[in-house]
């Protein structure tokens, strides 16, 4: 429940960002460089005099936009791939799942870095990179569920009703996999926020002036000792968001898994 509250708050902040901020997050204000948190600049300013509070608020928008989009991409592709592998079995299964294993065998962040350095820093390239990296997680989960569901009698019954494979797979089997899928998606969101921040921090995320949380951190890393507010506040934002998604994911798992009741 706490998790859900945090997520709703986060999304609200992201949607309402233009009405919440006190300053233009991109506006450079030379007279107020590196000023400590105050009544005017709630979280202080950075080395260009940009308001950290406004940047963190906008960061909620950018970071979550990227992560949600990339998880959706990963989920859609992963579900289709995993479902086809699980349902048809045989050599199709072997080829697809071995490719998934190969993708999984790379450390996620390393693979994302690789993709980003090939494609260049751009917001949608981050989505592509993260989406690609997370495909196997979804494929695996759906694959497992479909493997067990396709042996169920209602599948045979629906074959006997004259349904085609495609209808059976997508209309009859997949709706029964939603529980593990939703859990996997929320947990992946938490990972994706971290991964996006890490990519931006390494300079491989969204291009610099964009106020994503990772970018704010990256800009601030030279002033960590002298102006701690520049790193602390975006750090807290990331922590809260990740915690929210993780708590929500755990709660959902408990709620949707009858064995844990």
């Amino acid at each position: 429940m706490i998790g859900l509250g945090i997520i709703i708050l986060n999304i609200l902040v992201a949607v309402m960002a233009p009405w919440i901020v006190t300053h233009d997050p991109m506006k450079i204000d030379i007279r107020n460089r590196v000023s400590a948190p105050s009544g005017v600049f709630f979280f202080g300013t950075d080395d260009y005099g940009r308001d950290i509070f406004s940047r963190v608020i906008y960061g909620a928008r950018i970071s979550q936009y990227i992560t949600i989009l990339s998880v959706v991409v990963a989920a859609v592709l992963g579900v289709v791939i995993g479902a086809i592998a699980g349902y048809y079995g045989g050599w199709i299964d072997n080829v697809i799942m071995r490719v998934m294993d190969a993708i999984m065998s790379f450390p996620a962040i390393l693979l994302a870095i690789g993709i980003m350095s090939v494609r260049g820093g751009d917001l949608y390239n981050v989505v592509i990179a993260l989406g690609f990296v997370y495909i196997p997680r979804f494929a695996r989960i759906i694959y497992g569920s479909v493997l067990s569901l396709k042996e169920k009698e209602f599948v045979e019954a629906s074959l006997a009703m004259g349904n085609s494979d495609i209808i059976i797979l997508f209309r009859h089997i997949l709706p029964n996999c939603t529980a593990p899928l939703i859990v996997q998606a929320t947990v992946s969101l938490a990972y994706a926020i971290l991964a996006e921040a890490a990519l931006s921090f390494l300079g491989l995320g969204a291009p610099p002036p964009t106020p994503s949380w990772g970018n704010i951190l990256s800009d601030a890393r030279n002033f960590m000792v002298d102006a701690p507010w520049m790193t602390v506040f975006p750090g807290i934002a990331i922590t809260i968001a990740v915690m929210g998604y993780n708590l929500f994911g755990d709660a959902l798992r408990d709620f949707l898994d009858p064995r844990l009741k």
């Binding site: 009698e153 209602f154 045979e156 004259g162 209808i167 029964n176």
Partner: protein, 324 residues
């Protein structure tokens, strides 16, 4: 008798790591229009595989090796899959054994019935809903308007089996295959379910293939009976002939092993008859008649040559050397 479905010399084998299991080994069955045909036999005698072969739903690693399944002038084993799907559910449908798991848990009863209608008929949602409700009325589900909005887990087992029966009759098929339709239900519900099936069959002239090992059920409902053993038909005939005047030693054994209530006391605790031995392995069938190792009246020839198809009475046939 007008024949609606005819199976000729069907062979369905399973190719496993241990060898070839001859689950169905030359089965021939005729089903008349509006007829209830009971198919009886022990577990593993090939009755379910025969049923699945009709709809071409034999699971891997099974394959239909040879034979013809003639239905309305077409050979179901030779038409393309797309055309086969037009037959399934629409003209030949199936009632499964386990009502508890034969309905999709993710959809309401109404959605599943409506989908079945809309797969095969071009009708609107509202019409499909009407059809679903009137079908639920036919299978005597009270308050169908409310029930179609419920999920399978909200219904009892008997209720779910009624829904399955409704789904089978929904598109008014010519043939319904009922594979152990009442095995998972308790006895009072069994009677109600059979009653509904019987009524619907009479109304609509639907032929039913009643696959079961419950001989009481067959005696009560079927018009004709086919007895199967080790992938073959050993005897077939009208239900009275089979129950009162069975010829094949296997059928005789089956009939004698039905317990009769109250009989044991009168007959001073007579032990219930059993057929000695066990079903032969489908990987390694005996030479000649498959029943010969267990047959009390086995002759020399039974272990060497397959028995011929003999006539015992009107419409009453069997495969046994004793009558050749």
């Amino acid at each position: 008798m007008d024949i609606v479905l005819e199976i000729k010399n069907l062979r369905t084998f399973f190719y496993t790591g241990e060898g070839v299991a001859k689950a169905v080994n030359g089965v021939g069955i005729k089903v008349g229009m509006g007829e209830i045909l009971g198919i009886v036999g022990e577990s593993g005698c090939g009755k379910s595989v025969t049923a699945l072969s009709i709809l071409r739903l034999v699971p891997y690693p099974g394959r239909i090796i040879s034979g013809d399944i003639l239905f309305d002038g077409i050979n179901l084993l030779q038409i393309p899959m797309a055309q086969m799907r037009q037959v399934r559910g629409n003209r030949i449908s199936m009632i499964f054994q386990e009502p508890m798991i034969s309905l999709n848990p993710a959809f309401t009863v109404g959605e599943q019935l409506m989908e079945a209608l809309r797969v095969h008929r071009k009708i609107s949602k509202a019409e499909a809903r009407e059809g679903a409700i009137s079908m639920l009325k036919m299978v005597e589900i009270p308050d169908p308007e409310r029930r179609i909005k419920e999920y399978p887990h909200q219904l009892s087992g008997g209720m779910r089996q009624r829904v399955m029966i409704g789904e089978a009759f929904l598109l008014d098929p010519e043939v319904i295959i009922a594979d152990e339709p009442t095995t998972a239900l308790d006895v009072t519900i069994q009677a109600q379910i059979l009653d509904i099936v019987y009524k619907l069959t009479q109304q609509r002239r639907t032929a039913i293939l009643l696959i079961t090992h419950n001989l009481g059920l067959v005696a009560e409902t079927a018009h004709r009976v086919v007895v199967m053993y080790a992938g073959k038909v050993v005897e077939e005939g009208p239900v009275e002939a089979i129950f009162e005047n069975a010829g094949h030693p296997y059928t005789n054994g089956l009939m004698q092993s039905i317990p009769v209530l109250g009989q044991s006391r009168r007959q001073k605790m007579r032990k219930l008859y059993e057929i000695k031995g066990s079903v032969p392995s489908l990987f390694d069938l005996p030479m000649g008649c498959p029943f010969n190792p267990r047959c009390p009246s086995c002759k020399n020839i039974c272990t060497k040559e397959e028995p011929p198809w003999c006539t015992l009475g009107p419409e009453h046939y069997l495969a046994c050397w004793l009558f050749a």
